[in-house]
C-alpha cells in the first residue's frame, strides 16, 4: 500500500504495523465488515416481512392459512438454528436448481441423483458454472440472507402475533362500531398500535441477529470471523512477509469491541424509537409521558 512497504523485513514498530494492516488480506478483512452490515441491513427488513406474513397468517380465520402460519412459527422456532443453517444452504440451492432443471431441460434423460452426485443440466446450474466468481459469492450471500430471514422471521412472527393480541380489544370493537371492515380495522387500527408492544421483542431479536452474524461463516460466506481466524493464525516466514505468532486473541478482541459497540448503538437507537412509539399510547409508558408533560 505505502511505498516503503516493499521490504517489510527491514521495518519495525509503527511503519511495520502500517504495512501489515494494509495488506490485501487485511483489506478483505475490512471489506467483510461491510458484508456483515449489508447482511443485517437486508436481513432485518426481510425477516420482519416473513414475520409479518407469518403473524398475519396465524391470525387468519381461514383454517389452512392459519395452520400454515402457526406451523411455520412452531417448526422453525423448535429446530436448532445450526441445523437449519447447515440444511438450508444445500437444500435451497438444490431446490432452486431442481426447479430450473425441470423448466429448462425437459428432455434430459439422465437421473438427477447419480449415486452421491447431484447433477442438473448445465443451463440449470445456479449460478452458471461459467459466471465469474463474484456471482457465486452474491448467490451464496443471497442464500444466507434467505436462510437468516426464514429463521428470524419465525421469531419475529411470534413476537408480532403476541403484539397484535396485546392491542386493547375495545379499540378494535370501536373500529367495528364505526363501520370499518375487518381489513380496515387490521390496517388502520391494529397494525399502527401493535408496534409499541412488539418493539421490546423485536429489539431483542435484532440484538440476537447481530450476534448471530458469525454463523455466516457456516454458510460459506467469508465473514469477519473467517478472516479474524485466518489472519490471527500463526504465520511462518516461509509463506508470508509478515511472520507472527498466534495473534487470534487480538483479532477476536477487535471483533468483541466491534460487536459491543454495535449492540450499544443499537440499544440507544431502540430506546429512542420506543420513546417515540409510546407517545399517546394507552400504556404505562404513554401515561408516564403524558403526566410528565402536564
Amino acid at each position: 500500500m505505502f511505498s516503503y512497504c516493499t521490504d517489510p523485513e527491514t521495518l519495525s514498530g509503527l511503519s511495520w504495523l502500517s504495512c501489515y494492516l494494509t495488506t490485501g488480506k487485511h483489506m478483505s478483512f475490512y471489506w467483510s465488515f461491510g458484508t456483515v452490515l449489508l447482511l443485517l441491513a437486508i436481513t432485518a427488513p426481510a425477516a420482519l416481512l416473513f414475520g409479518f406474513g407469518g403473524a398475519s397468517a396465524a391470525r387468519s380465520r381461514i383454517a389452512p392459512v392459519c395452520w400454515l402460519g402457526k406451523g411455520y412459527i412452531a417448526v422453525v422456532r423448535g429446530v436448532p438454528d445450526i441445523a437449519f443453517f447447515l440444511f438450508f444452504v444445500i437444500a435451497l440451492d438444490q431446490g432452486f436448481e431442481y426447479l430450473r432443471h425441470q423448466w429448462m431441460c425437459p428432455d434430459w434423460d439422465q437421473p438427477i441423483r447419480q449415486g452421491n452426485d447431484f447433477i442438473v443440466c448445465a443451463q440449470a446450474k445456479l449460478p452458471l458454472s461459467t459466471s465469474p466468481q463474484i456471482w457465486h459469492e452474491i448467490y451464496g450471500f443471497f442464500l444466507a440472507v434467505l436462510t437468516f430471514a426464514i429463521v428470524f422471521g419465525a421469531f419475529a412472527a411470534n413476537v408480532l402475533y403476541g403484539a397484535m393480541r396485546a392491542v386493547p380489544q375495545p379499540q378494535l370493537e370501536t373500529a367495528a362500531a364505526y363501520g370499518m371492515t375487518p381489513r380496515q380495522t387490521f390496517w388502520r387500527i391494529l397494525v399502527p398500535q401493535m408496534w409499541v408492544y412488539a418493539l421490546p421483542g423485536l429489539g431483542n431479536l435484532w440484538m440476537v441477529l447481530i450476534k448471530a452474524t458469525p454463523l455466516l461463516f457456516l454458510l460459506g460466506v467469508e465473514d469477519i470471523v473467517y478472516w479474524a481466524r485466518e489472519l490471527g493464525g500463526t504465520k511462518t516466514a516461509r509463506f508470508t512477509d509478515y511472520p507472527h505468532g498466534d495473534w487470534r486473541m487480538w483479532y477476536f478482541g477487535a471483533l468483541l469491541i466491534f460487536y459491543l459497540l454495535f449492540t450499544r448503538v443499537s440499544e440507544i437507537f431502540l430506546d429512542r424509537t420506543m420513546k417515540k412509539l409510546t407517545h399517546g399510547q394507552a400504556t404505562m409508558g404513554g401515561e408516564a409521558q403524558r403526566k410528565a408533560a402536564a
Partner: protein, 243 residues
C-alpha cells in the same frame, strides 16, 4: 412464497445475464489453510504448491480455471452438489473417500505423517493427539484407539499443542516441518506413520471426462520433470521416479 419465486426468477435472470458470452470454467476448490500445500497469501489470494500445480494443469489441459475456498469439513458435500468441479486440497486418496468421489492419478508420493510435540519424550500411544477432523490422520488415531482431539482447521491442532491441550499433533510431515523450524518450543518425534496413498484431485464420480483430462496432464507433468520441480520447490516430500 410469492416473494421466493420472484427473487429466484430475478436471480436466475441476473445469473444468465452475467454468464452470457463467457466460456466454460472449471472451478477448483481448496481449503486455503494448509501451507505449503495451499494457503492465503498476504494479498488475500490462494497460493502454494497446489496453486501452482493447479494453474499448470489447467493450462496444459486447455481449461479456464477459477479458485474457490471452502471449509475442509464440507469440502466433499459441496463438490458432489456441484458448487465446484475439482477438490485440490492435499486430499489423500483413501478407500473411504473413493466410495463418495473419484480421484485423479496421485500428484504426490505418499507423504509420511509426523508427530509434532511439546517435548521429545511423548509416547503417542499414551498421549492426547490432536488432528484435523475428517483426515487420514484422525482416522488413523481413532483406529488405533488412542486419545484423539479433533479440530476443524490445521492451525487449531498446532495451537492445541502450544497451549498444552494436546501432547502432540499428527499431520503431513510437509505441513509440520516449517512450523517446527520456526518454533523452538515444538519438536518432531522420530516416530512416523506411513498412511495414505498419495494425494490426488477429487472429482465427481459422474465427471469421467474431466478426470481423464487431468489424469493425462498429471502423467505428462510426472514424466517431463515439471511436477518434481514443484514438489522440490515447495518441499512437499519425495519426488517421483523417472518414467
Amino acid at each position: 412464497m410469492n416473494k421466493l419465486i420472484l427473487t429466484t426468477a430475478s436471480l436466475a435472470l441476473f445469473a444468465s445475464m452475467a454468464a452470457a458470452g463467457s466460456h466454460s470454467v472449471t472451478r477448483l476448490g481448496t481449503e486455503g489453510a494448509y501451507p505449503p500445500w495451499n494457503f492465503i497469501n498476504d494479498s488475500g489470494e490462494v497460493d502454494g504448491f497446489e496453486r501452482e500445480l493447479g494453474d499448470q494443469l489447467c493450462e496444459r489441459a486447455g481449461l479456464t480455471c477459477e479458485w474457490v475456498t471452502n471449509e475442509w469439513d464440507s469440502i466433499i458435500p459441496n463438490l458432489v452438489s456441484g458448487n465446484y468441479d475439482v477438490i485440490i486440497a492435499g486430499m489423500s486418496i483413501t478407500d473411504e473417500r473413493e466410495e463418495v468421489i473419484d480421484f485423479s492419478e496421485n500428484y504426490t508420493q505418499p507423504d509420511p505423517s509426523a508427530y509434532l510435540a511439546a517435548s521429545p519424550d511423548v509416547d503417542p500411544a499414551n498421549a492426547v493427539i490432536a488432528a484435523q477432523a475428517s483426515t487420514i490422520q484422525a482416522a488413523f488415531i481413532a483406529e488405533k484407539g488412542w486419545t484423539l482431539l479433533e479440530f476443524a482447521t490445521p492451525e487449531e491442532t498446532i495451537a492445541a499443542v502450544r497451549n498444552g491441550e494436546a501432547d502432540a499433533v499428527l499431520a503431513d510431515k510437509s505441513y509440520l516441518a516449517p512450523v517446527a523450524e520456526e518454533d523452538s518450543g515444538l519438536v518432531m518425534l522420530e516416530q512416523e506413520e506411513l498412511i495414505g496413498g498419495g494425494v490426488g484431485l477429487g472429482l465427481r464420480e459422474s465427471d469421467g471426462e474431466l478426470k481423464a483430462k487431468f489424469d493425462a496432464v498429471i502423467s505428462e507433468m510426472k514424466c517431463d520433470g515439471s511436477l518434481n520441480a514443484l514438489i522440490e520447490k515447495w518441499e512437499i516430500g519425495e519426488a517421483f521416479p523417472d518414467c
